[in-house]
């Protein structure tokens, strides 16, 4: 299995760079991942990441729509916070597996 170092920790990752084991995640690790893309995570970003981690942990489906209804941000805000492909990026930073949702 591939490994990558973030914030001094070795993280197990899959072929797409997603975490294999969400337990290896920490705020420092997430921040280091964002830094690689020239981004900095704020407290609001972490609120979204924690929301995603909680959803995934409970086995609930994760969609952009559900994040838009989370009360943390709306859909537009979510696109702004994680520019490009927000759900893919946010799940990457949240240390969970790649999203499998179509909406």
């Amino acid at each position: 299995m591939a490994q990558k170092e973030y914030a001094g920790k070795m993280i197990d990752i899959d072929d797409n760079g997603y975490f294999v084991n969400p337990e290896q995640w920490s705020r420092e690790v997430a921040q280091a991942m964002a830094k690689e893309n020239g981004e900095e995570l704020t407290d609001k970003h972490f609120e979204v990441l924690e929301f995603i981690r909680e959803k995934v942990k409970n086995g609930e489906s994760l969609t952009i729509r559900s994040i838009g209804k989370s009360g943390i941000t709306d859909v537009k805000g979510f696109y702004k916070m994680f520019p490009g492909a927000p759900l893919k990026k946010a799940t990457l930073y949240a240390g969970v597996s790649k999203p499998s949702s179509c909406v």
Partner: protein, 167 residues
């Protein structure tokens, strides 16, 4: 040796010309999916597809119960065309379809349009079809950016790694 360099899709333009629930939703799922991937997305609604962006109609779209060979009864038996022709059957079946779609956490048409716009996707109405159905800008969803000609829509397909999809 074959060139294996990948050229991922950068821009996608979609044309929706049909107004049944499944035609419009298929377009919206694909468009929203493209937006989610960070692909620049433009949508063009024309002819009966305009129902999908017409305020009065967009959340009440129907699925055809006549002339639809894929239509099945719950349980899988064929759905007789003559049954589909009875008053109220199409409305009932359509309501059932919308309910099932909702259970899958797929948004309604109006919310889908909002999500696509929020992600930076652009929605256009076809001028010819708008004139033909005698519609006005205010009849259309707020997310509709403009009423344009097909020529203007094609002009947006500039640049490499761009695709046009007709649904």
């Amino acid at each position: 040796m074959a060139d294996e360099t990948k050229h991922p899709l950068k821009k996608v333009l979609m044309i929706c010309a049909k107004g049944s629930l499944e035609d419009v939703l298929a377009t919206l799922v694909m468009a929203n999916g493209a937006v989610m991937e960070g692909i620049e997305t433009k949508l063009f609604f024309t002819f009966f597809g305009l129902d999908g962006i017409t305020k009065k109609r967009m959340n009440k779209l129907h699925t055809a119960t006549v002339g639809n060979p894929a239509m099945r009864m719950p349980g899988g038996l064929p759905f007789p065309t003559l049954l589909g022709a009875l008053p109220g059957v199409e409305a009932g079946v359509s309501a059932m379809m919308r309910k099932q779609i909702d259970e899958l956490d797929i948004p309604r048409v109006d919310e889908f349009l909002e999500m696509i716009e929020a992600g930076g996707g652009e929605i256009y109405a076809c001028k010819l079809a708008v004139d033909m159905f005698k519609l006005k800008k205010e009849d259309l969803a707020d997310e509709v950016k403009d009423i344009i000609t097909i020529g203007e829509f094609y002009e947006m397909a500039d640049g490499l790694q761009t695709q046009i999809i007709f649904t």
